[in-house]
Symmetry: C2
Subunit: 192 residues, 2 copies
């Protein structure tokens, strides 16, 4: 849960309400039209002027990032739990499925997260790093256990996750599953 940090005063009641309404409308709009949905519409549906939206969220990425907050926490704690899973190969597979589904929450999100890895100024950057870190750790463990080929890197796993997320947005969840299954199969040792 995202609680307020010390030293920050409680915002005015109307500001808090507007913030929550904006998040709710943004979630609905992004779900329906992708992360490129018009911000003007979101503001209007939330009952505020466009300037109020910009007052709370300096840009589209900040809005997406706030929306992903709790969802990120859940994903990361799943990742941490999987790191102690007794079956490294299965843990890696479960992580890749969960991360791909997460990165496909909204149409357009996979591309935004892909950009966020290389852009330190992006509001999405920290979450991208965290995902990459978990991928790296789970990959290293599976590699040590001999469950995947020695040549497989954490970057390879991150690439597969992003590609599967994009496939999910672009084509279907079924095709994303197929891509994941085939790639997971391809990660295994023996002439990998």
């Amino acid at each position: 849960m995202h609680t307020r940090q010390q030293g920050q005063r409680r915002p005015r009641a109307d500001a808090r309400r507007n913030y929550q309404r904006l998040l709710a409308e943004a979630d609905a709009a992004f779900r329906e039209h992708g992360t490129g949905a018009p911000l003007e519409t979101i503001a209007r549906r939330a009952g505020v002027a466009i300037g109020t939206l910009y007052g709370h969220f300096p840009n589209r990425r900040a809005l997406v990032s706030s929306l992903l907050g709790d969802r990120n926490d859940a994903l990361f704690s799943l990742g941490d739990r999987l790191l102690t899973d007794p079956l490294p190969a299965e843990a890696l597979g479960a992580w890749m499925r969960a991360a791909a589904q997460h990165a496909a929450t909204y149409r357009g999100l996979a591309a935004m997260l892909g950009d966020g890895i290389g852009d330190e100024a992006s509001e999405l950057h920290p979450a991208c790093l965290r995902m990459a870190d978990i991928s790296e750790n789970l990959t290293a463990r599976a590699r040590r256990a001999g469950a995947i080929a020695p040549s497989v890197t954490g970057t390879d796993v991150s690439t597969i996750i992003s590609a599967a997320a994009w496939t999910r947005e672009q084509a279907s969840a079924g095709q994303a599953e197929r891509l994941l299954d085939l790639a997971l199969n391809g990660l295994r040792p023996t002439s990998g």
Copy 2:
């Protein structure tokens, strides 16, 4: 090569020149800024008014489609040749690499081609169908030869091509190669 069909008269000299200039500037702009590059800029650089661009190409897809013309022909003829290649597995791999590279000619093209498959009204639809058809045939041949698992479909192969193309645009050619290698490895028989 795209020659004029019978019954169509030769266009006016200035129209032909404008058409060629627009294609050249569009290619440069799409290479640099992706398929979303401003059409106004393309028209200005070609030395014509925006209306002239729309006179030649009713929309962005038509422009992209014309740009891909010769490139498509080369890809399809490669596909036809590979269908008689003595090594079905290698032929499939070569096709997937070539198709993925083609679909990543411009940033944003992978998504446009992905949309083009399901949209009969798209100017890109015929080329998408042709690519899917070649994928299907090469997959069937590799399957008959026992080079890939019996469960692998032409759609799976198309999905991998699209995902690799997007990875190439989004991340790097190297990561796209990795995705292709891993997926190709995953296509092979034995618990596939």
